[in-house]
Every structure is written in C-alpha cells, then in structure tokens.
Amino acid sequence: MKTPKIIIVFKYIILVIALIIFIGPIIYQVIAGFKTLGQIYDPAMIMSFSNLTLDTWKNAIIKEGFLHYLRNTMVTSLSATLLVMVFAIFAAYGLAKLKMTDRMRNNLSFEFLSMRMLPGIAVIIPIFVIFKKIGLLYTIPGLIIIYVVFNIPFAVWLLEGFFKEVPNEIVEAARIDGCSPRQELFKISIPLAGPGLMSVGILTFIFIWNEYMFASILTNDASRTLPVWAAYTTFQHYIINFAILGVSSTVMIVPVIIFAMLMQKYLVRGLSLGALKE
C-alpha cells in the first residue's frame, strides 16, 4: 500500500515549515553578529542582509577580550571532561563487569542515576559559602570540581550500558589468560566500547561547555566562561547590544552544532539515558 502523493507533498510542506521555525531563528541570530547596530535597530532593515560587516567580531576579539573567555571555557570543559571520564570509566566498569551481588549492583546503579536529579541550586548555595571560606571561589579549579561532580552520574549511567555490551565471554577469556581486571579494562573493554566512550566524552563536553548557572556564581571578571561573558557583554550598556549578542551566541553554538552533527548516532542514545539504541 503506497501513501497517496498529495499526502507526501503535504508532509514535506509541514516539515519545511518546521525546519524554518527550528533553524531560522538561529541563522537570524548568527547574522545579527555581522550587522551594524544601525541596521539592527532600524525596523525597516530587519530583513535586509546586505552590507554585512566584521566590526563587531573585531571588537569582540580586540576590545572585549573574547579570546580570554574562550580559553577559560576550553580549559574548563576539557579538564572537567577528562576527569569525569576517568572517574566514570572505572565506576561504570565496576558496575558492569566486576563481581558483586546483584542487589549491590542495582543499589549502586540506582544511586548514580538518582544523583542526576540533584537540583543544582540546592548544592551551589552551600558550595558558594564553602568555596568562599577555602579560597576556591572565582577560580577555574573550583568550577571544574563542580562540573566533574555534576557530570559523573550521567556519564556512569551511560558508560555502564556501553560496558555491558562488551561480551562477557571475551572478558572471561582475557581473565583466564591471566589479565587482571585493570589490564582487561584497558586492553579489551575500553577498545571495544570505544565509540560509546567517545560519545559520552563529547556529550559531557557539550554539557559543560553550555553550562551557565554554576559559572555565573563561581566566576568573576578573570575566570568567566563564554555563557557568562555572553550574558554580561550583551547587557553591559543601557540598550541591549544585539550585534554582540549575535557574535557571542555564534561562538557558543558553532562548536556544539559541529559536535552534534558528527556524533548524531550516539546523541539519541546518550540523551535517552542509554535506553534507546540508534
């Protein structure tokens, strides 16, 4: 049974409209970074995209110190992601492949999952006070510590699924050949679960790269990350600067979009807590 042509045409029309709604605003926002403020604030020129300029970009790099904040974000995201992966790989491997009672396995697994529900605001208030007392407030290491803690539960939950897919027979064979669990993990399980590990790493990186609330509390002028800088720089003058809004948004979203496109296959799986395979 074939669907009538008219219905297929109708489907495409709806899909294209949906696409314009979901993608159009992002493109519009990116273009704002290449317009002059005069063009942006002239209602007659809303749909005119001629005479684009690089001035706002130059300004962001030279005057606003954008590169410094990009560096902060890169350092924070990369080191936090790396630490998350180290902690989570061991924990997930333990949960998936090491001998323990089923009851213990279930409880621990549940514990990691339930920590994903931890409301950030409840933790950040005491952390702010504690960090202030021990001198970690407004420092990048302080921010990294928080990101590591808040991203371990999700990473463990996902990695556990990926490690469980490594056939037990292979793991057992390696053990019988005299591999310790650690050797087995590095020589067999990690290579076999490689693509999964990669996707968890990238998802964790995206989450940290995108984070705003913790960063807005735990950073200052020097240690700001891109989202905090974007919020600050857009609103720093009396009127909102939509041109700098376009620039700061673009630098935040472009890397994420590239990553998402590359890792599309794993994204579904990651975002559905590992329940759906693609």
Partner: protein
Amino acid sequence: MGEVLTGRTLENRNKGDHTWKIYIFPALFFLLLVGIAPLLYSLYISFHQYNLAKTQIAFKFVGFRNYWGLLSDAAFWNSFKLTIIFVVVAISLELILGTFLALLLLNDIKGRNIFRSLFLIPMVITPIAVGLMGRYIFEDNVGIVNFLLRKLSIPTPIWYGNPKIALSTMILLDIWEWTPFIFILVLAGLMAIPKEYYEAARVEGANYFGELFRITIPTVRNVFLLALMIRIIDAFKEFDKIYIMTKGGPDFATDLINIRAYTIAFKEFNIGVASAFSVMILILMIVLGTVLIRIIRKNV
C-alpha cells in the same frame, strides 16, 4: 545478569570479590563529598540567620523562622505555581508536537536523516544562546516575530515585557528548544517497531488510526515514559534561558523556583532563607525523582 568470575584459584576469586570497591568508590566518594555533604551544610544554614551582604546581621540560630518566612511569602508560592504551569503546559505541548513530527517523518520521506540532524540543533545549543535568541526575535520593534506579524497585519504583543504574556513566551521558547528532543526519542522508538506488526494488522483490515492506537502508541509507550521522566526533571530545573530573558520578571511573571532561590541567594545574599528554599526544592525533587524512577523501573 552475567557475572564475570575471575576463576583460576580460590585465592584470586576472593580477591576479585572486592575489586569493585576500588573501581566504584573514588567516583562515589567524590559525589558524596562535593554533591551530598554540602546539602547537610545547607540544612544547617537553613536554621540560621545568615546574610553575606550585610555583615552587621549576625550569624545566629533562628529555628524554623526561615521556613515559616517562606511559607507565608506570596512570592514563594507564586514561584511554585508558575513552575508547575510551566512544566505541565510546556511538556504536554512538546509531547504532542514532537510525536506529530516523528510520525510525519516515519514513512515515505526522502532525506529523513538530514531533517533529523537539523531538528537536533535547538536542544544541543547553549541555553544562554537560546535565551538571547528569545530576547532578539521577540523584541517589540526590531524582533523578527513582530516584524512578520506586522506584515500579516496581526496585532503584535509585547512578548516578554507584559506580565500576562511573559510566561507563555517562556513556554513557547521551551517548546522550541525541547520539542526536537521528544521528536528524536519517539522517532527512534517508532523505527524500532518491526514492519511485520503493521503487515499483520493490515491483513486483519486495520486502518491508519487502528494501527496508531493498537500498535504504534502501545509500543512506544515506554519511550514516552522515558522522555517524560527526563523532561520533567529538567523542566523543574529550568533556569538559564528564562533568567537571561527576564530575570523572573516582569512583576514576578516568570519567577520559577530556581530563579526565586537564585535571586534570594545571589542578589539579596540572604543565604539562610535561600538555603531553606533549596532544602524544600531538594525534598520536592527527591519525591518526584523517586516516583518517576519507580514508574520507569516498573515499565521500561
């Protein structure tokens, strides 16, 4: 549950029994130390008068005063009311729209993968960029939304400056951001249904709606539950894009629980009251999380 036995000798096996602790405890310890221990400190602060901005106010024990203060504060109840409206309305519409899009893309569509990759974008981009985008496109005079409405001679609302409309605008933005999530999950669930199910139904003479309600929806029920759970938890935590757009205003119209607690803590520096607030948010999330995980574990 396949368990891996290290085998070989008895000695080795006994040793193997405790290896898991070395693997799991570092992560768990770190989580407990930085994630859970501060909550106890927060509980302690919540019974004290503590203001970081006004040092002349002494840190002293006040019992339940912070809690009673909040419970008799209209802004506190307002924030819970708004959060529940936000969560229920946004997620319901996201479920409907996301499922609709997934059903559209399921059959006979060439370029499905391209559509799907593009629909992914709104949910992965930085929430602050989404909030800034909302600020720009919904702007009264130079925003593209009002520009298009004017072209179509439709009256233009003040999207985020009007207390009556602001929450709806936030819901709209949330739908824009998260409908793709439901869509992607439901599509993955739908594509996993074996074609034979539909063929069998057709042999028995089922029409489109018969298939929809007897095969499609029951089979993706688990996917719905999962999507619902993830979205509910995240929607209760909503902060970034609304804070960047309105800071909870105008006139408390978009003042969700997280924004209220954040304002008390980091704008008024009233750490005692904010701690009491966050303890209540925590209790809400524990109850909600436990119920949701129970449901998921029973069904999925």
